[in-house]
């Protein structure tokens, strides 16, 4: 890892930056450009469809009031509530979708639809909530904080996936590492009684598991999907076994020192925003820091350039003298640290400690976020936030007794992932060599 940035390396890094997230205009020839144009037309059609749909909902929601509330100073303190006519919210969403459809059609493949979806989805969620709540007051502080908190394990897990896949290792084992991180984190914190040991132990154990994975995949050239399956099955087996055999009967090993939310001085006193953004678990701020750090590392440093080279063209990278094998081992080490750390959040954030299958598929949602975010840390974190919103909405609605089948909302991340992988709303391209073993000749 080189921290010093050399101008040449940086310039080279910059030129490669654009390659994975290639944006071409609607004009151009060649199969790729054609395909992108078609995809953008499909997107425009979809957005137009959404416009019509939301127009229909706008029509049907006259007279309904959407009631929302915020906690002003802290959760459970004084609150401020307000109400908006639902029809207004939906009108805004309709206009938004209409604009997106028009822009998408006119600008073609160069339209930044990911950003547009990111911008419109909060409004959409608002409008949906208001419509579904049908007059009941919803507290949005809780809604937003749970959205942000949900993004912690998924976002960091996605980061782990990005680092390993950029190096050319297809990593479906994030789920298993989350589980290991959660269990080891809980045990370490319970034994030592020091809160900070939990995340550290989780991260270290995640790294060990990750190295085992890398060893199978690189040394023995085990198919990386099979190796990932080994880790996932093994993690479920080992953690459940250890839970039933040790943690449950001897519960002193499963009473971790919880890592409680921190109040950031001054900022947490800002009314309304304070409780949402600045009174969260320290994990959240670390997650944001990690995402920014790795975005810089991947796109702006020599290490990042080499990492991407190993993932795209390992043979070329090897020819110019990059030790691809060592680089992949290191990337897997980092990915393991990240995933184990993310896992420790799951067992240390609440009071319950570790439980059977406590990660509940969040590692696979992280995988979805990797793809939805086109292997870019910031986008992937955004995807984690969007997935978090659907989860928060499910909790909110079921808490208020609104009868919408929560299973549909809970399936959203998986459905969205399939749509994205299928390239229906915009093709994403995985690092070219992710999943292929590398022969160092």
């Amino acid at each position: 890892m080189t921290k010093k940035k050399k101008p040449v390396a940086a310039a080279r890094a910059k030129t490669i930056t654009t390659a994975p997230a290639k944006r071409t205009t609607s004009v151009g020839d060649g199969a790729d450009a054609q395909q992108q144009l078609v995809a953008s037309r499909v997107r425009a059609g979809l957005f137009a469809l959404f416009t019509l749909l939301s127009l229909a909902i706008t029509n049907g929601s006259a007279g309904v009031e959407g009631k929302f509330a915020f906690w002003v100073d802290k959760i459970g303190g004084t609150d401020v509530s307000f109400s908006v006519p639902v029809i207004l919210l939906w009108a805004a969403v309709t206009v938004g979708f209409g604009a997106m459809a028009a822009l998408q059609f006119v600008r073609g493949a160069s339209f930044r639809w990911r950003l547009a979806i990111g911008l419109i989805s909060p409004f959409l969620v608002f409008a949906l909530l208001a419509r579904l709540l049908d007059g009941t007051t919803a507290n949005l502080t809780v809604f937003f904080t749970s959205t942000l908190l949900y993004a912690i394990p998924v976002g960091i897990g996605a980061l782990a996936g990005i680092v390993s896949e950029r190096s050319g290792i297809l990593n479906i084992s994030v789920e298993g590492k989350l589980l290991f991180g959660a269990m080891i984190g809980s045990i370490a914190s319970s034994i030592t009684g020091i809160a900070i040991t939990g995340p550290i132990a989780g991260a270290i154990f995640g790294a060990l598991v990750s190295l085992f994975f890398a060893w199978l995949g690189i040394r023995y050239k085990v198919d990386q999907i099979i190796a990932g399956t080994v880790i996932n099955i093994g993690a479920l087996g080992v953690t459940t076994f250890a839970y039933l055999r040790i943690l449950q009967p001897y519960s002193e090993f499963n009473r971790p020192i919880g890592i409680t939310p921190i109040q950031i001085p001054l900022l947490s006193d800002i009314p309304i925003l304070g409780p949402i953004l600045f009174s969260l678990s320290p994990f959240f701020y670390i997650a944001v820091g990690l995402v920014l750090f790795f975005t810089y590392m991947i796109y702006r440093t020599r290490w990042g350039l080499r990492l991407r080279a190993a993932g795209e063209q390992p043979n070329a990278a090897g020819t110019v003298g990059i030790d691809v094998v060592k680089l992949r081992y290191r990337a897997m080490l980092i990915a393991g640290l990240l995933a184990g750390f993310a896992g420790s959040y799951i067992s240390l954030s609440g009071t319950g400690g570790f439980g059977i299958n406590t990660s509940a598929g969040q590692g696979f949602i992280a995988l979805a976020a990797v793809i939805f975010g086109a292997w870019n840390p910031v986008y992937a974190f955004g995807a984690a936030l969007i997935f978090g919103m659907t989860s928060a909405a499910t909790t909110l609605l079921s808490g208020l007794g609104v009868t919408i089948p929560p299973q549909i909302l809970l399936s959203m991340p998986y459905i969205v992932t399939i749509i994205v992988v299928a390239g229906l709303i915009g093709r994403v391209r995985a690092p070219a060599s992710a999943g292929r073993p590398y022969d160092q000749g």
Partner: protein, 398 residues
């Protein structure tokens, strides 16, 4: 003699893998025992012998749970035809075979996909959707609506359709737009679980009255699969026979039919297969349809015949285990059936081990993971056999 040698070399790696994994499992039992760990410093020999004794007790319970208690079997033999004694003696082995039925089906299903070069890890989802199909057919056509044989046939057809439809999605996406089947099948597994949850908690037609729990009605009231053993207390129904017939059919299809040859060719070398005029897209979709159909058939038969109820977690760890079964069985139908029987024995033996010694059955997942790792890295496994301490050369392609 030559044939025996050949057979020996074929099962060397799988047998070794399973044995080593079981040994590691024993170590795992010993070193997760708090009493053993506590005594390790003060009295290491005593602690270790305590641990080894416990592991031996656990494995002997596993053995008795898998094959039956030698003592009970002896009594049954001596009793000269006492049905009750015979039922007790044979129950473990029969239940082990019953436990292997879903593994045979899903193992065969994923094997067909693996042979075509598609990593279908959606066995669990396809099995679940087959169970959904079978359940709906049982509820709609069972309980005297149609004659029993027709109802059973419809259960099977609906299961096949459910599984095939679920497998069609990743197959189509892979063939037409190149979407990675690994990702799509993982996602579809989750969606299938949520879909069952949705079905069994929202529809009066399916949900068990008084509609509190998210489970379906008891299916034994609608369709009853006929048993095949003369002792009524032993529940082994026709699904094992259907499973074996399916294995024969898959074997014939893969190794004797033109279409099967094309699928295997596509799996071995897609580019060469294309050059020889084999449509890659059609191969992928066909393989996925067959794969899903077999898993779905299994889901329908097990849901209706063995479990007799549809619930969101119906697939359990079948999806995982089936991958192990397919890989250990070398994706050959005969190997799959043999491995599924071994894993079925472990499964049922493990449940007795859990009841009698409190060692959680989840140990099997860990053992399966190890077995998959060993099978996928034969170099590693054979290395253990030769000399575990010798460093292997760094790279083969030098």
């Amino acid at each position: 003699m030559n044939g025996l040698k050949k057979f020996g070399s074929k099962i060397r790696v799988p047998a070794l893998s399973i044995s080593v994994a079981l040994l590691v499992g024993a170590l795992f039992i010993i070193f997760t025992d708090i009493e053993v760990l506590g005594g390790l410093l003060s009295d290491p020999i005593g602690a270790l012998s305590l641990g080894i004794g416990r592991a031996a007790t656990a494995y002997s319970a596993l053995f008795r749970g898998a094959f039956g208690d030698p003592e009970t079997i002896g009594k049954a033999l001596a009793s000269n035809g006492d049905i009750k004694l015979w039922a007790r003696a044979l129950r473990p082995i029969v239940e082990s075979v019953v436990a292997s039925v879903p593994l045979i089906f899903v193992g065969l299903g994923v094997s067909v996909a693996f042979r075509t070069g598609i990593f279908n890890i959606g066995g669990a989802g396809q099995y679940t959707m087959g169970a959904v199909g079978g359940t709906i057919a049982a509820l709609a056509f069972g309980a005297g609506v149609t004659p029993a044989p027709i109802a059973i046939l419809l259960v099977m057809i609906f299961g096949v359709v459910g599984g095939a439809a679920w497998a069609f999605i990743p197959g189509y996406l892979k063939a037409r737009v190149g979407a990675s089947e690994v990702i799509t099948t993982i996602m579809l597994n989750f969606i299938a679980g949520q879909f069952v949850f949705f079905l069994v908690s929202n529809f009066e037609f399916i949900q068990k009255p008084p509609r509190i729990q998210p489970v379906s009605k008891e299916l034994s009231q609608f369709v009853d699969l006929p048993g095949i053993l003369p002792i009524a207390a032993l529940r082994m129904d026709i699904s094992i026979i259907i499973a074996l017939l399916t294995a024969v059919a898959v074997s014939w299809f893969l190794f004797r039919s033109t279409r099967g040859f094309e699928l295997r060719a596509a799996g071995l070398n897609l580019a060469a297969a294309k050059y020889a005029g084999i449509g890659a897209g059609t191969s992928i979709i066909t393989a996925m349809l067959i794969s899903g159909a077999i898993s779905g058939l299994g889901g329908a038969l097990v849901a209706v015949g063995t479990i007799k109820q549809l619930s969101p977690g119906i697939a359990g760890s079948v999806g995982f285990t089936a991958i192990a079964v397919a890989l250990v069985g070398g994706t050959r139908p005969s190997g799959v059936v043999a491995t599924a029987l071994v894993f079925g024995l472990l499964q049922h033996g493990g449940s007795l081990m859990q009841v009698q010694t409190g060692i959680p059955i989840e140990m099997l997942l860990f053992i399966q993971a190890l077995v998959i790792a060993f099978i996928a890295a034969p170099e590693l496994t054979l290395g253990i056999l030769k000399n575990p301490f010798r460093r292997r050369p760094r790279s083969v392609a030098k």
